[in-house]
């Protein structure tokens, strides 16, 4: 009987899809081990949000409502997770493979003397020893990893496990972390864009590249995103040229995303770009070059000039939304 502890990250007061996916995953792991799925919430969250975790199988929640968690300090967060793991005798500690999850999982692994497997894409095929699959070589290959330590820490790749509802009691316990260190770095300033759909959370992403020929041609791209409720993204040359903000760059050295649907408009499909989006469930490519490598990675393609095709897609998208 082994318990699973997972870190339920929240933003702007609510749990987003990655946290609920992680809850679903933790619940499935708990079914495999015969233990409980226990959530750790750092920072104050409302009771209605906490009970949402119960809808994905969470039995128990440690709610560390008080504490300076807002700066997301590595030392403070990893201490909190490690202490929680010890408190609930967790055999497995799992995180979303989010910016913060990936940042603190290795420190927690060291504290718990646990093997770390980052970016797992499914449930372990075995628990004795823990054997689980992940992507390697920037998504070009798959690997099966075995963990030799008694405990293990994993980070879960986004949009791989899915949301699975199950009823859990979600009993919330207010908990104070016994020994929190102080901030390692002085926070001078924090800026947050409120209410924005983040690339890491978006189910649909509309991305465009150099084929658009300039930032002044971006309106159809933005319109398509608006109609579909999607986040916008771009290829590296576009952000290097300053046509779009750096935060929109998806690719090997930019953001790695895994939406359900990814539109690649006027993007040739260099290896480094594909590395950033290959985990998308479905890729649609629009390009006028039939030899463009993007068509090798795409599920659906339109051969044509983006300046005529994208506006036509915007109108078609509007019709689709009206009729659905």
């Amino acid at each position: 009987m082994s318990n699973i502890l997972y870190l339920a990250e929240h933003r702007e007061g609510s749990f987003r899809k990655p946290a609920l996916e992680l809850a679903s995953y933790a619940h499935a792991l708990a079914r495999q081990t015969g233990g409980q799925a226990i959530a750790l919430v750092l920072g104050k969250v409302g009771a209605d949000q906490l009970s949402r975790l119960g809808s994905y199988g969470t039995q128990h929640i440690l709610h560390a409502a008080e504490g300076s968690f807002d700066p997301m300090d590595n030392g403070i967060w990893s201490t909190a997770v490690a202490e929680a793991a010890i408190k609930v005798s967790a055999r497995l500690v799992v995180f979303s493979a989010s910016l913060q999850g990936r940042a603190i999982a290795p420190a927690v692994a060291v504290r718990l003397e646990a093997g770390l497997v980052a970016g797992v894409n499914g449930l372990p095929s075995s628990m004795q020893p823990l054997t689980v699959e992940r992507k390697v070589y920037s998504g070009k290959a798959l690997a099966t990893v075995v963990v030799h330590t008694e405990k293990a820490v994993m980070t879960l790749s986004p949009n791989t496990f899915g949301l699975k509802e199950s009823s859990g009691d979600a009993v919330a316990e207010v908990w104070t972390v016994p020994t929190l260190p102080s901030l390692s770095f002085e926070v001078l300033e924090t800026s947050r864009s409120e209410g924005k759909l983040l690339l890491s959370e978006a189910d649909v992403v509309v991305s465009a590249g150099r084929g658009m020929k300039g930032h002044e041609h971006w309106k159809p791209v933005e319109d398509l995103a608006t109609v579909l409720g999607a986040a916008t993204a771009c290829s590296r040359p576009v952000s290097d040229e300053g046509w779009r903000p750096h935060g929109e760059h998806v690719g090997q050295t930019g953001k790695i995303i895994a939406p359900n649907l990814y539109f690649a408009l006027g993007i040739s499909g260099a290896v480094q770009h594909i590395a950033g989006v290959s985990s998308s469930k479905v890729i649609v490519a629009v390009n006028k070059d039939p030899e463009a490598p993007i068509f090798g990675a795409a599920d659906y393609g339109i051969l044509g000039d983006v300046h005529t095709v994208v506006p036509a897609l915007v109108e078609a998208a509007k019709r689709f939304k009206e009729n659905s």
Binding site: N74, G75, S98, L99, Q100, R102, A103, P106, A109, V110, R111, E113, A114, L116, A118, G119, V136, Y137, S138, K140, A141, L142, A143, T144, V145, V146, H148, S184, F185, E186, V187, L188, E189, T190, S191, R192, S193, L198, S200, D203, V204, L228, Q252, T253, N260, L261, V282, A298, D299, Y300, G301, I302, G304, V309, A312, L313, A316, A317, R319, F320
Partner: protein, 241 residues
């Protein structure tokens, strides 16, 4: 600094798919480590720091890549002589070496392009008891103060470091990787590359087997004159909208 296969390498496995087939592989400095090195050298050029050293854990074949780092401008390279087994083993070997070193700033690229685990930098900091910060997209030194720009979900932070620290750096830390000059390539041969022995450290995880993903089916082309058809397919066939 990690030694990795060139990004355009077609990966293949051998020995019953238990290890990478290294035949014909071009080895390079891990792209994020290269950006970290570039930023360090920019700071050195500006007179803000005095020396830049690169450290790698690996077998003799990584020395060619370490020489590239020296050619780009690093002052000294170190190789901890060991076959890498997993992130924890690499971090522990680095931590052991670090005990005898003095430093102000440690930089680690966010991940290596082969294993993508984002583990070594943070594990090293945890093992060595050094403050760490991740997702650092900017590092500047103004009047002796170290200022960091850090990416967080949906935002950014500006941080000030007090004392030695390790920063895990990502895109933005430098705009383009520095290219070695002719002079750099010449002097690289005479700059120090020190090899240190490694005490054996047991890995905590092991790669059992590799496989290549199923190749994608061919792309289904849609007539540009029929954009509604695309949405019908996305809804009925792909079920993503």
């Amino acid at each position: 600094m990690s030694n990795v296969p060139d990004t355009t390498t077609k990966v293949r496995f051998t020995d019953g798919n238990t290890r990478l087939d290294a035949a014909g592989i071009q080895w390079i400095i891990n792209p994020w480590d290269e950006l970290a090195l570039t930023r360090a050298l920019e700071l050195k050029d500006a007179g803000a720091i005095s020396a830049v050293e690169v450290i790698n854990v690996g077998p003799a074949l990584t020395e060619a890549t370490l020489r590239k780092a020296l050619a780009i401008g690093a002052d000294k390279a170190w190789r901890i002589d060991a076959e890498t087994a997993d992130g924890y083993q690499v971090a522990q070997l680095l931590a052991q070496w670090l005990k005898d070193q003095a430093f102000d700033i440690l930089l680690a690229g966010v991940e290596s392009s082969d294993y993508n685990s984002s583990g070594v930098g943070i594990m090293l900091a945890a093992l060595a008891g050094i403050p760490s910060v991740s997702n650092v997209s900017g590092l500047s030194i103004e009047g002796g103060q170290v200022i960091l720009k850090r990416e967080i979900e949906g935002g950014q932070q500006q941080l000030k470091a007090h004392g030695p620290f390790l920063a895990v750096v990502q895109k933005g830390i430098a705009l383009e990787p520095r290219i070695p000059s002719m002079r750099g390539i010449m002097t690289a041969r005479t700059k120090p590359l020190e090899v240190v022995p490694a005490h054996p450290v047991a890995a905590r995880t092991a790669y059992q087997a590799f496989s290549l993903p199923q190749p994608k089916g061919s792309c289904r082309m849609v007539d540009p004159e029929q954009p509604d058809e695309l949405f019908r397919l996305l809804h009925e066939e792909a079920r993503v909208i």
